[in-house]
Each structure stands twice: as C-alpha cells, then as structure tokens.
Amino acid sequence: MPKYTSMAYGSWEEMIFGTAKHPVSIGFGPVELGKKHVHPQIVPHPRPGSEATKAKILKEYQRMTEDALSHCAALGFPSIVIEFEHIYQMTSQPEWAAAIFTQAKAQMKEYYDKYGLKSALISTVADLRKPDMVNMRKCQEIDWMLETFDSTAANGADVLSIETMGGKEVFDYAIQRNDMKGIIFGIGVLSSIDMAWLWPQIVAIAEKHGITPGGDTDCARGNTAMFMAGGFTATDVPHTVAALARGCSAARSLVAYECGATGPTKDCAYEDPIIKAITGVPITMEGVASACAHAELQSNLVAAVVDLWSNEAVEYHDMFGGSSVEVFTEILGYNVAQMNAAIELGYAKELQAINVASDKYRDVHGFMLSPDNSYEIGKAIVANVDSYYLRAKAAVLKTAELIDADSKMLLTDFEKDALAKARADVEALPDNEADFVDMCLSEYSKVPGFDPTSYGF
C-alpha cells in the first residue's frame, strides 16, 4: 500500500469549508462534495422495537426518510445526504438492508423528480467484530459485513462507509490507564493493520457497483477517548491524553484513503481536518447539530474545513416541531445555508475565523483540530512514511508539541502533568516498528481476548 508522502494543500490557509482538492459527486443531482458548497447530512436512527420485524423496520425507515426529504422541500434546502448507520439487524441480515436501501432510494428519486431536490444515500455497515471476542479476519461477522456492503451497494447506496474496530481491545485497556504505548499500539498499529486488510475489499465492492467508497473513523478509539474526557467537570480521562489519541487517529484513518476510499469521510472522524490537509478528499464532520448524540467542546470549530455537515445520529421520535429527524434536518439545513451564504458573499474566510475563534482555545481537542494545527500534524504524519507506528508516534508528538508551545492554550496543572508524562512516555518508545510491536505483543498479552492472529501476526 503506498503511503501519503506530501500534503494536498500548500498551507492551512488554502483550506476552506465547501471546497476540497478532490471533489466527489454522489447520488441524484448529483450532490457535489468539495466543489465550492457544503451540504447537509442527516443520520436518523430507528426507535427501539422497530427492529422487531422486517415490515416494522421498513416502515420506520420510510417515515424517517420521508421526514427528511419533505422537510427539505418545505424549507427550500437544495440538497440532502442521508446516512443509514446500520443497526445490528441490518448488517446481519443483508436482505433487510437491501430492502431498506431500495425503499429509501425510491423516495429520494420521487423528490428529485418532483422538486429537483438533490440527494444521496450512505450505507455505513456496522462493524460487528468485537476484537476480544472474534477473530477479526475469520468470523461470521465479517461475512455478514461484506455481504451487506454488497447488498446495499446493489440496492441504492451511493457511498459505502464503516467504523472499524481493530485494536479496540488494547486501546480500551490503555485508555483507562493513560497508557500512551497501548494507545499508539491499538490505534496506530493494530487498527491501521486491520483497515489495510479490510478496506481493499470494501473498495472492490464499491467499484464493482460503480459507487463511492467513502471512509472510516477512529470512533471506536479516538471518540471513546474524547467522550470519556468529556466536559470541564469530568474526571475520567485527561483532555490532553484524548487530544494525543486523536493525533494518532489521523495517522490511522488515513489508511482508508490509501486503500482507495475517496471520501466523503465519516462524520464522527474528528481527525478529518488532518485527513483533508493530507489527502484533499471532501470531509464529513459533525458539530453543533450532533448535540443530539453527544456533547463536545469544539462544535463550531469543526465546521472550519467541512464539506458535508452531519448530526451524528438522532433517534426517531416526536418533538413539538415535528419528528426529531425533521428537527435536525432543519438545524443542519440552516447551518449549511449559513456556510454557503458566507461562500457566496466572499466571507468564507471570515466565517472560518469566527468558528475557529469560538473553540480553538476552549479545549485541547479543538485546538489541535483547528486548521493551522491540523495542517502541522498532517505534515508530521507524511514526513514519517516508514511505518504505521512511526507516523502515529510522530502525530502524537507533534500534537503534544503544539499544545506546549501555545501560551494561549491554557491547561490545569493536572492536564499539564498528564501531557508532560504522556509526552515523555512516547519519546521513550522504540525507534522502529518491529521493536515496538515485539514489546507490545508481550506486554498486551495480558489484555483479555487480545489475539495477535487477528492482525496477521
């Protein structure tokens, strides 16, 4: 697999929301990602109980889709991307998934024909492999997943994406212990290896059906760290450690694009600004509207270089203003209208500066994801092409360095100590992958369920 060795952009200033170096067109219209404007992406989630029968789940998806489309027509939104993040029953039953996608695509066609509403459909297959319970390469789950990629690609999906699980067992152990070694091993090495094994298969399926291989996210690790770090009142994981884990995430999520994924990336991949700086693919981000799914400390800032703007996932239910899907379609639609209005007025850079100012110094996570710092972390990654390990380590160290160097990025004493310790720990790690892997394979044999053969060791 070739690795990225240079940046897609000459400097961070060249990066702006709505425009990507390598645009992608999907669905009816088509929806053009990265070609100057931003588009909204709604991610609806069915209610508990609706998965009981195929008829019920189809009805649920029909309603959710109808709500999204009709609300766009009612409010004048020019385009909508709908992502179905599969529930268990969809991925494990490829024919359910096929029926759900067929139905949604027909609804989208109807709105395209009647109103000219542009739309596209993303199939995010659930990675059902739990690394401490199955062999990642040989299990029932992987068969289901590949089949469902195929069945949804054949039946209306415009984009295939996933949130892969590799390295999760080691990462979970490590994040609970502020163990940077395990974090880098889990994210930077194991997850990268898993992606390099799985992604060519996904790309092949997408190519077979002439659709788009989208992207992957470090959700299972990077977001776990970020959510555990939580807000200013939480004391589960230091925010600085979560930010370092995120640096690592970028080195790891890059593998999808090295395997042929083209974007749109996955919404919850907060590492995407770094991915965009390196690859130039259009990125999907979730920000203020993803409050429905989780709290975060950089909800405005992540709009700085976004191409597709999402809400993460909202469970279907009634609110005063309509269904939750209508409500969040509306919020996303107006967010996007604001961004596109800025673009049309020639104020994109001003709006970017505003959104960055909102959150760059709110928390270290926003700090490192601000376009300037993302760009620097990207440079550290592409300068270290020798191994997955080394580029992950470089990303972590660059992240730490940036935080340390900016006097406006305030930290509590506790966070400062955690950062210093993490940095020292990482600096002490071996200089080459083989040594590092040896060390980790022996140390993490104590992690329940960790099976090196899952990764081809």
Binding site: K36, H37, T53, A55, K56, K59, R63, A73, A74, L75, G76, F77, P78, K114, Y115, G116, L117, D318, F320, A337, N340, A341, I343, E344, L345, G346, Y347
Partner: protein, 254 residues
C-alpha cells in the same frame, strides 16, 4: 466595503424556491352547469362571494326549486375542493366558499321548510384543557360544507360532554383536536367512555401534538393529518365503516 445580500444574484446554493418550481398553473374553475342560472350559484361558491350566491340562489329557488339549488351548491363546493387539492386554491378561499355555500344552503332550507337531510352527523371538539381550536374550526367548516351535520362543542370540552353529545345526536363520528401533549390523552378516555356506553363509532384524533402512532395504539382511534381529510372521513363513518377499517384506510399501521 462591507458586502451584503444585495451583492448576490444567485441564491441556488443557499436555498431553492420549491414553491415557485412546483407552482401549479393557474386554472379557472370548471363550470358545473350549462344552465346560466345555476352556474351563477356555483360561481358564487367558487369565488366565495356570499352576495352572488344569495342573489343567484334566490332566483333559482323560485325558478328551479330548492333541491336543485342545493345540488348546485354542492357541485360548486366539489370544484373548490378540487382546486384546493391541486394547489390552485389556498385554505382561505375554501373557507370563504364554505361561508358562501352556507348562505345558499340556509336559503334553500328555509324554502324547503326543513333542513336538508344530512349525509351524517359528526361531533367535534378540542380536548379538555386545550384551547387551540383553529384546526378544528377549519375541519368543521369543510365537513359542514360537504353536507354533514356538525355538532361543534368548542374547545376545552370535558370527555363526558363529548360522549353525551355523541349519544344525544346519534353521531356517526367523534373528532377531537389537541395541540398539547398534556391534553391529548383525553381522546383515549373519550374512546373508552364510548365503549362503556356501547357506542361503536370511530374517534378521529388530530392536531399538532397528536401522533399517528399514539392514536393507533388504542381502540377506536383513527389519526387525521389534514383538515381536508375530514369530509371523506365523515363519509366513511356515515357509510358505516368500522374504526378498524377506517384505520387501515387512513393510517400507516404495521
């Protein structure tokens, strides 16, 4: 120089005026009668012109008899409904037409010496504790204009009052409107009281707070989305359709 919206000409990336894209072609109302005297009545209804209807009805009652006038009024209103369905008419035009129709109808009934036989009887109300009555009023106007007897109990109506009215008037249908999540549960109680009284009719529930899912979770409940569904629903109930069949027809049920 500060740039403003005035510097823009192309808004397509920001919003699309779907209303303009889908605007139906203007269309004149179709004639409902070749007889100019009757067509004048229908025209009055179509244009929502009470004076025109009064004048034309007066003449036609004398020359053609009240029943013909009534039939014409109803044909005029049917044309109005068609125009609304096609997006040519908006609600206010329909309401004005229904006002006009009532003027003619009252005149014709007076001439007949008795009220026209109604197509059925509908008891309507807003939920106990709820004063949001516009949707109910609109639906009532439409149902009435389509030849049904409407007993409008108003808003904030106790459940017992609703059931009593249904009993007293041998209603074919009860409808309830609620805009607040705190009031809508009254409809379920209305339905249960009806059962207790042995009155086997459907309860159509509607209004902003009310969801199809909830309404179809208890016996007798049939959910309505739009006021314009009212007349046909009244027709179904008057024709003796069971609440189960009405629900199957009008609601998405799995």
């Amino acid at each position: 120089m500060q740039k403003t919206v005035n510097d823009l000409t192309n808004f397509d990336p920001i919003f699309i005026r779907y209303d303009i894209k889908i605007a139906p072609k203007k269309r004149d109302a179709a004639d409902v009668s070749t007889d100019p005297a009757l067509q004048a009545i229908a025209k009055g209804v179509v244009e929502g012109d009470e004076d025109m209807v009064a004048e034309a009805s007066k003449a036609a009652i004398a020359s053609k008899g009240p029943q013909t006038v009534i039939d014409t009024l109803i044909l005029g209103m049917a044309e109005v409904s068609k125009l609304w369905d096609d997006g040519v008419y908006y609600l206010p035009q329909v309401i004005l037409s229904s006002d006009a129709l009532m003027v003619g109808l009252n005149m014709a009934e007076e001439a007949l010496g008795s009220a026209v036989v109604k197509r059925g009887t509908v008891v309507m109300h807003c939920a106990h504790g709820d004063i949001h009555d516009i949707g109910k009023n609109v639906a009532a106007a439409l149902i009435r204009a389509n030849g049904y007897k409407v007993i409008d109990l108003g808003s904030d109506v106790p459940e017992e009052t609703v059931v009593q009215a249904a009993k007293d008037n041998k209603a074919d249908l009860v409808t309830g409107t609620a805009l607040m999540t705190t009031t809508m549960s009254a409809f379920h109680r209305v339905a249960e009281l009806l059962t207790q009284e042995g009155i086997n009719i459907p309860v159509v529930a509607s209004g902003g707070a009310v969801s199809e899912e909830w309404v179809t979770s208890w016996d007798r409940g049939v959910y309505a989305t739009f006021a314009k569904q009212g007349p046909e629903m009244a027709g179904d109930a008057a024709a003796g359709m069971s609440w189960e069949d009405m629900r199957a027809k009008w609601n998405l049920v799995v």
